[in-house]
């Protein structure tokens, strides 16, 4: 295609967009709304995925808190027994002192709150590293039979809940997105139909003087693409600022408690930008093709 031709086509598309301002705005808004909702879903899904991945790494352990009264020999014996259970990779021993240190580290600049404790009430514990998280139940069963254990703490349920939420959000999100994208496509198709009608005469003449089919189609296709692109750019802006705001909020409030990092704004944008651009232009192009196939017999 010649550059002059491309210029001509873009100009035609922009003129149509301006002439049908109402429908154009409706189309752009529709793309924007769909993609913004998609953006919200993507940010949630990616974060939940991220959290559960990190959790998997952190939580493939079982922590066994020991009864305070055990002497060293009993502790060693228990350690040996635990080490022999099927599925245990290795175990770490954490003294009550170490436990307090770790807690202070986690709490960061709020660690001074722990200073008020007169006595370290944290128990000694074994941290059992598992070969995989799925066998946690079996290991726990074996542990239940042993003496000298005060409490068994493991995270299978948290993990399962988290995976459940992730799957739920993914599924609902996907269905929602498909519906929204279909609606958007039809709105764009309708906009293009109006343009087609308002330029029927011109198209007719173009056909009679021998314009090629693609020469006739391109401006309409471009109109759809431009509408889609505008919608996706606006929604990218909304998602960017919305996420930045939420990100800062979460980081200042929850980071130290949950010990989980939220995906950074830049990384999130790197991931969503290509999706948005592709989807925006794709929906726009498909919408116009839908209309062209139905109403433009060249």
């Amino acid at each position: 295609m010649k550059i002059r031709t491309m210029g001509y086509m873009i100009k035609q598309s922009l003129i149509s967009i301006w002439r049908n301002r109402g429908m154009s705005i409706a189309s752009i808004t529709s793309v924007m709304a769909s993609l913004t909702i998609l953006g919200v879903i993507i940010t949630i899904v990616l974060n939940v995925n991220n959290i559960s991945e990190m959790a998997k790494m952190q939580f493939d352990t079982i922590q066994v808190f020991l009864v305070d009264e055990l002497d060293n020999e009993q502790i060693n014996k228990l350690g040996q027994d635990i080490g022999e259970i099927n599925g245990v990779r290795f175990i770490d021993y954490e003294t009550k002192k170490e436990a307090l240190e770790r807690m202070k580290e986690q709490w960061g600049d709020k660690a001074y709150l722990l200073e008020v404790l007169e006595e370290n009430t944290l128990p000694n514990s074994y941290i059992i590293h598992l070969e995989n998280i799925e066998i946690a139940d079996n290991v726990v069963q074996s542990l239940n039979d042993m003496e000298g254990i005060e409490e068994i703490k493991y995270h299978k349920e948290i993990l399962e809940t988290m995976m459940g939420i992730a799957n739920f959000v993914r599924t609902v999100g996907l269905v929602l997105i498909v519906i929204l994208i279909l609606i958007t496509m039809f709105i764009i198709a309708n906009t293009i139909k109006i343009t087609l009608n308002s330029r029927r005469q011109e198209i007719n003449i173009m056909k009679y003087v021998g314009a090629t089919n693609w020469f006739i189609r391109w401006p309409f296709l471009m109109e759809g693409i431009i509408l889609g692109l505008m919608g996706s750019i606006i929604s990218l802006g909304i998602v960017y600022f919305g996420y930045e705001y939420t990100f800062n909020l979460i980081n200042s409030q929850f980071n130290m408690v949950m010990n989980v990092r939220v995906i950074s704004v830049n990384e999130m944008m790197n991931r969503t930008l290509p999706i948005f651009i592709v989807l925006g232009t794709g929906v726009g192009a498909l919408g116009s093709i839908l209309s062209l196939r139905k109403y433009l017999r060249v």
């Binding site: 005469q201 009679y208 090629t212």
Partner: protein, 228 residues
Amino acid sequence: MIQFRNVSKVYNKGIQALTNINLTIEKGEFIFLVGPSGAGKSTFIKLLLKEEEPTQGSIIVDDVDITKLPRRKVPHLRRNISVVFQDFRLLPNKTVYENVAFAMEVIEAPSKEIRRQVPMILGMVGLSDKAKQYPNELSGGERQRVSIARSIVNNPSILIADEPTGNLDPETAWEIMKVLRQINRRGTTLVMATHAKDIVDTMQQRVVALEKGRIVRDEHRGAYGYED
């Protein structure tokens, strides 16, 4: 050269529009296509423009059987066979110059050529001084001349005129005929469907008469032959 070989056209609803048409039109000829409404003139033109496909037979234009031409090549056929309509079909928001230039722009002619060709053609149809005016500022005859200018600006070898004088008063009609005659003298084959008896009778060109989808008469230096 145009050649219809045993061409028949039956529409979907079973209407027999053309029956076994055999006709050869030589390059540079001027022919009138006459006959009552519904005789098949419109179908004849549509077949030639490949807007419709014949049910039977073949149509050869410049050694190419256009019934076998794939759809994507139709635009190129239409650059060679141009058409002028009774209702002008000008774009109201474009000037005379722009309307004519439009035909060149949409086939991606170089702008240098457009700037050279359009004024020349406007001069040929006698509209040089109206170039900047809009269609609604022109008389019917002037509008039809713009339409003719647009149809020949890409140098087609065949020009089809579908009742080009149908909307015009007799005097203006003759102006249009002069322009068409001039185009034909430059070597463009001209096929004109018409009901204008006095024009056909005066021009003394080849006349092909259609009736109920058949050619009933084909004479050189013919007359209209109907009483209207």
